[in-house]
Structure formats: structure tokens, C-alpha cells
């Protein structure tokens, strides 16, 4: 049993392209980007689709649920252990994140998780996940 502790999270650098994503995060909403030309989602979000290079991309509200694609608890070299993971969203794309507010020893690949938001050090909150 290794209960997760809140850690100081570095603020993301917000730029004109990613600002809507972090503005939505401040409202407790997870956005993902979808391309109208090829119909595919992608992450991290871009204005031009990395799958087909069309500029017909737009923001969509993600359901905010997914499964752990892979994970690792960093146990040395950090003030507190934390779990880094890729979560594959219901929409089919995977995003780098942390699994939080849970027993870190119990986090497993394939586990169902849901989004929540954690404050950062002087920036907008960022999406993280916890067991669903």
C-alpha cells in the first residue's frame, strides 16, 4: 500500500495554440482535438492534424474516462513517489498523465480510470486520472 500524495506540479507553458485546452481545464473540462477531414482524434492537440495534415481540426469534449495503457511509479529521486502513466481515452487516443488519489501499488495496466484536475504551481490546472 502506497497512498499517493499531492506533489508540486510544474505549470504547463501556455501558448496561443494550446490555450483553449488549458482554459477548459480551468473549467474542469478535458478537451481533445478531432479532425473533420479524416475523422480521427489526436493528442496532444494541434491545429493541423498529425494523421492527415488537414487544418480542419476542432475541439471536442472528451468523456473523461479511459484505461491505463502503461504506468510506472517513480520510487527514487523524487520528494514523493508518483505514478506516471499513459491513459487510453474512450475516444481512442492515449495521453501522458499521472494516476492520483489512490494506492499507487494497486495501479495496473488495463485499470479503468476517470479524469480529475490538479492545480499547478502558478499555472492552469492539468488533467490527471484516478481509478474509476
Amino acid at each position: 500500500m502506497l497512498l499517493s500524495k499531492d506533489r508540486k506540479i510544474p505549470a504547463p507553458s501556455v501558448n496561443p495554440e494550446n490555450k483553449p485546452y488549458f482554459d477548459a481545464a480551468s473549467q474542469g473540462k478535458l478537451l481533445i482535438r478531432k479532425c473533420a477531414a479524416c475523422g480521427e482524434f489526436h493528442h496532444y492537440p494541434r491545429s493541423i492534424c498529425p494523421h492527415c495534415f488537414s487544418d480542419k481540426t476542432a475541439w471536442h469534449d472528451a468523456k473523461g474516462v479511459g484505461i491505463v495503457y502503461t504506468c510506472s511509479v517513480l520510487r527514487r529521486g523524487a520528494p514523493e513517489p508518483y505514478c506516471i502513466a499513459y491513459v487510453t481515452l474512450d475516444e481512442g487516443v492515449s495521453m501522458l498523465t499521472n494516476i492520483v488519489d489512490c494506492d499507487l501499488d494497486a495501479v495496473k495496466i488495463g485499470m479503468k480510470v476517470r479524469v480529475l484536475f490538479k492545480p499547478t504551481d502558478g499555472g492552469p490546472p492539468v488533467p490527471m486520472f484516478t481509478p474509476a
Binding site: 504547463p12 501558448n15 495554440e17 494550446n18 510506472s72 511509479v73 492515449s94 498523465t97
Partner: protein, 388 residues
């Protein structure tokens, strides 16, 4: 047009230091350049092409060309992290084939150990990196990035920590014969598994060392190589392949070696079974397993079984690897392991590796590197080298 047979590695030098508190980074670059020139039997005046990456101080090659007093007509500062130097060898062969230079110098040096670097520290992120806002907040560091690859590989293919440990065990068997190696003790699978977990499922002994030092290689056109008093080592195939997150459609257990490898083999006209020695970038034990699979030395998913039971140990295993002890035991100068991979392959082809680890009649070798992080984005480079 192919680079096959168009350029030879005529000089190779690895700095003996592992902790260089009393030297500057520029000084280390110059010392390895001097060492490689002496090894080749060439002089500074012969060098007309210079290659370096992000470990070289200053903007690309400018400061180092000036510092060393080089007079060159071709420069290249391609930076793909630890695989840069393999790519430099390939690009140098291209430049030589096109007549842009005759003698190309490639240098690497750094002192991360003296500067207190570690694989559990966050790296510095450039202000405009598009991926950083979506990664830096989550504490991605070198160790947990590769650990996620290992965890997924175990999930998909049943790879075990014991199998990964065999990579370290084999490296340690080789390092015991290298007087310069940072870690010379032979270790067992149990000792690897008993070392502390750094990032699940990777233990401390699954991780490479942090060392100061550097290395250099010199390439020249074949006519020059034949005029020198050194065994001739010729580049016969090369490939390079960046790989990332594919817009979120992850395939984390496959590396760019799945593309750079086949490209190099096709150019060389040889196949994995022909290779007698491999230098494989070993930032972590999992890095070796993934690359060996992607290069075709075994099927995808069978890398764990392939490396087990000493199969990578020179003299007893089927595929001797990293006979200098590699990054896991010998050194990892500038946190960039590509240069030392080339140098040990050259030693093997020259018959100048330590007698205890020298592959008999080594005529064909492969050097493989991945720079960046397998867990996020990286660039793979593969070289195939032949003794003539």
C-alpha cells in the same frame, strides 16, 4: 546512390576519464579529437569536415571549430540525442561520397557526472516545445519514461524482470575486463533484482551509469583509409528513423529500429544472422530488448527470452553485445551513448577488443542507437560496418 563502401572509419578514440572535474567540456572534445587523429595516423590539417551534436558547447559547430582551430569546408550538427553520432557517421559518408569533404571528424563529450545529472531529474524544456505543456507537469524523467516501455512490454509479451536482468549480467561479464569501466564487478540476476526499484519495473541495475568523458571517430574516403596503417573498417549500410507518439496512437513497445534496421540491412545487402557482433544502445536493459527485436535478431515479443541465459555474453552466447561493458557498466558520456557504441564495434572489427571478449574473426558488426526517450519520442540510427 548508396553510401555502401563510400567511407571508412579510420580513427576511433574513447576518453579514459569517467569523472572530469578538472576539465572543461570543450577541452574534452578537443582531447578526443586529438586521440582519434593519433589513432588514425592523421593530423588536424587533414580534417575538412566536422560533425557534432548538442553536447558540443555553442551554436552547432561554430565554437568547437574555432576552439580546435579546424579548417573545414563541411559541417553538420544534426542532434537526435544519443543516436546523433551514428547519424553523423552516415551523414559523413554521404558528404564524402558527394566530395564535400575527404576526412570527417565526429566528436562527443560531456561531464554530467561532475555536474550532478541523474535519470530521475526533470530535463530542461525549451520554451516552444509543443509537447512540453502536455508532459512536463506529469514528471516525465528518463527513468520512468523507459519504465513505462518495460511495463507495457511485460504486459504484451510476458517479458520478466529476470530476463531484463540478463542484459545487465552480460554487460557486467564484459566490463570486468575493461580497466576504465565504472562498474567492473560481475553481477548476477538476483543482484539485479535485489537492487532498489527506481521506477517500476526497472531496478537500479537496469539503468545505465552517469559518467563524464567522450569519444571521437574519423571517417575518410576508402583511398585514404587504405593508405593508413590501420585495419580498414567500412560503412556498408545505414538507416535513421524518428518515432513518436503518432498523435496518441501509441505503439510503445516498438522503436524506430524497426525502420532504421531494415534500411541499413537492405543497403548493406546482409541479414541479421550474418552479424557477428552488435553494439546496442543500453540506456536501460529494456532498451536493448526492444531494439534487438526491432532489428530482427528475434521475433517481436521474444526479446526477453532471446537475451536470457547469457545469450549476449561474448564467447558463450550467440550474439555478443557491448563488449566494453556498454552504458550499463562502462560509461555513458554526456548522457549520450551512441559514440561509444561505434567505437567498440570498430575495436571488434579491428580485432582490438580485450582478448577475453574479442569475437573471433569479426568481419561484420552492427551499431545501434536510440536518442531521446523510447517512452515519448526518439530517433533510431543503425550502422552496419565491415572489416575489409
Amino acid at each position: 546512390m548508396s553510401i555502401k563502401g563510400r567511407a571508412c572509419i579510420v580513427g576511433a578514440y574513447e576518453h579514459p576519464t569517467r569523472k572530469a572535474e578538472d576539465k572543461s567540456v570543450a577541452q574534452l572534445h578537443a582531447e578526443v579529437a586529438k586521440g582519434a587523429l593519433e589513432d588514425a595516423g592523421l593530423t588536424r590539417a587533414d580534417v575538412d569536415g566536422y560533425f557534432c551534436a548538442g553536447d558540443a558547447p555553442g551554436l552547432g559547430p561554430m565554437s568547437m571549430v574555432d576552439y580546435m582551430g579546424l579548417k573545414v569546408r563541411h559541417v553538420d550538427s544534426t542532434d537526435t540525442g544519443g543516436s546523433s553520432y551514428l547519424i553523423h557517421v552516415s551523414h559523413a559518408a554521404q558528404a564524402i561520397a558527394l566530395g564535400k569533404c575527404n576526412v570527417a571528424l565526429v566528436t562527443l563529450a560531456g561531464r554530467p557526472r561532475s555536474e550532478g545529472s541523474s535519470g530521475t531529474q526533470p530535463r530542461s524544456w525549451g520554451a516552444n516545445l509543443p509537447d512540453a505543456p502536455f508532459e512536463a507537469p506529469y514528471g516525465i524523467v528518463t527513468a520512468n519514461s523507459y519504465a513505462m516501455v518495460a511495463a507495457r512490454h511485460m504486459h504484451e509479451y510476458g517479458t520478466t524482470s529476470e530476463q531484463l536482468a540478463w542484459v545487465k549480467v552480460a554487460a557486467s561479464h564484459h566490463a570486468q575486463h575493461n580497466p576504465h569501466a565504472m562498474l567492473k564487478d560481475v553481477v548476477t540476476v538476483k543482484e539485479v533484482l535485489d537492487s532498489p526499484v527506481i521506477a517500476d519495473p526497472l531496478h537500479r541495475m537496469d539503468c545505465c551509469v552517469v559518467s563524464d568523458g567522450g569519444g571521437a571517430v574519423i571517417l575518410a574516403r576508402p583511398e585514404i583509409a587504405k593508405s593508413l596503417k590501420r585495419p580498414v573498417v567500412t560503412l556498408i549500410g545505414a538507416g535513421e528513423a524518428p518515432k513518436g507518439q503518432a498523435g496518441g496512437k501509441l505503439t510503445l513497445t516498438t522503436s524506430g529500429a524497426s525502420r532504421s534496421g531494415p534500411a541499413a540491412f537492405a543497403e548493406a545487402g546482409v541479414k541479421p544472422a550474418d552479424i557477428q557482433y552488435v553494439s546496442i544502445y543500453d540506456s536501460f536493459t529494456i532498451t536493448v530488448v526492444v531494439q534487438l527485436e526491432d532489428l530482427g535478431f528475434c521475433k517481436k515479443g521474444e526479446g526477453g527470452r532471446f537475451v536470457a541465459d547469457g545469450n549476449l555474453i561474448s564467447g558463450s552466447g550467440k550474439l555478443p553485445f557491448n563488449t566494453d561493458g556498454g552504458g550499463l557498466c562502462n560509461n555513458h558520456p554526456a548522457n549520450r551513448g551512441g559514440m561509444t557504441k561505434i567505437i567498440e564495434a570498430v575495436r571488434q572489427l579491428r580485432g582490438e577488443a580485450h582478448p577475453k571478449v574479442q569475437v573471433k574473426n569479426c568481419g561484420l558488426a552492427l551499431a545501434q542507437g536510440t536518442g531521446g526517450q523510447l517512452g515519448t519520442r526518439h530517433t533510431s540510427s543503425t550502422l552496419i560496418l565491415e572489416r575489409n
